[in-house]
Amino acid sequence: MSALTDIYVDNVVGHLHENSRDDIAAEIRATINDMVEDRLGEIDHPAHDQTEKVEREVLEELGDPILLSREYTNSPQHLIGPDSYPLYIWSLRWVLPAVAILSVLTNIIVHFATTPEVHLGSLLGQTIGSTVTALLIAFAVITILIGLGDRSLDGGTTQQLPGPRSKAWSVDDLHRKDVRGSQIRAEAVLNLIFLVLLALIPLIPTSLVYVGHLNNGETFINPGLGSGWLLGYWAFLALMAVIEVIKLVRSSTSAALIITGVVLDVAMAVFLTIALLTQQVLHPDLTSASGAEVQQIITVIAIWAIVIWDQISTWRAHRANR
């Protein structure tokens, strides 16, 4: 079994449901072997070049792995096609929880800062209402953007079904359609964007989210916070960015890189926990004296919830892609 067949099979099963991948991969491999063996006929010791040529012919006869994958799923036309589906699910897993947490935190901060006497019912009502709206908008935006992207990536190939199969596909295209590599690169780019946004948080003025009147448009972060804490925060983000750049350049990941990422995530969470529990990190004008401590504790809980969820998500993705 050559690397070419392995890549082909990976490209087919990469679009299929996780539960059926192993079985279908084994069957396609057995088929390719049978077809190659049959075509090589009675030759006792076929030359490497001969085997390679026949293997290419067989793969080209099986055709574009994306189309073969579609035959297996027998799926109707989708808004989000198999090319973009892993990215779509990945984006939802990342963006929706992040939007929910940001919305909850923002609402709590604004409510504490603007309400002289805090009522739990009012706080819950405002927070849940705003968060549901934010989640629906985020869901719609992600779906529309990736749906549009999917159509431009697809190049209209879905229109070829159920008509005659396109004969334009060649084995040479296989190298350009490394599904796993594309997925890793897309995730790395999104992670880098996310890290840049995180790095900008200490610099973002409150006026940008319509609460500038609370502290005269200063930042969300306490101006009195020591510069060492900020430099430490950016240093952690820079190290995380280095890992993402390595993934982007290599188009692959490894257990060592993942373990390094986990260690960095946990170290960053510990760093932020110490910062939040030992001093006033949020701008004093954004917090009422009675609610400041509660806000800091909620933020710490949110940080650890994100870190734990991130690790589970990362290991699940790593296991699924092995």
């Binding site: 006869e61 099986l62 297996y72 008509g163």
Partner: protein, 115 residues
């Protein structure tokens, strides 16, 4: 035949073949068959089939309960063998009846329409 007509013919032929391949696969799988042996059997019987159509089709027929599948690991190379189930055999028999009726109908129509 112009290019558009050829394109339409290719589309309709493929639709026709798809239906035929389901029926032919159920008939051929009365004896256990692995994917490539079935492909060869169908081709030798004059039913042109593409591997990339046949394998997903076998899986769908298995899901529908018309074929049962079992990996045979006793041979040098593990292979998945498909065999028609009881309900698959009933469906095959019904399709066979339909096939004969359609053949009669089409033959009659063809004769009536031929000047």
């Amino acid at each position: 035949m112009n290019e558009d007509a050829e394109q339409a013919l290719a589309t309709h032929e493929q639709e026709l073949r798809r239906g035929t391949v389901v029926f032919a696969s159920l008939v051929a799988c009365r004896q256990p068959q692995y994917g490539y042996s079935l492909l060869t059997t169908l081709t030798e019987a004059g039913i042109a089939t593409e591997a990339n159509t046949l394998y997903p089709l076998l899986r769908r027929l298995e899901k529908q309960g018309l074929l049962s599948a079992e990996w045979n690991t006793e041979q040098a190379r593990p292979r998945k063998y498909y065999t028609v189930t009881t309900s698959g055999a009933e469906v095959a028999a019904a399709l066979h009846s339909q096939w004969l009726e359609l053949n009669t109908s089409i033959t009659k129509l063809w004769k009536e329409g031929t000047p």
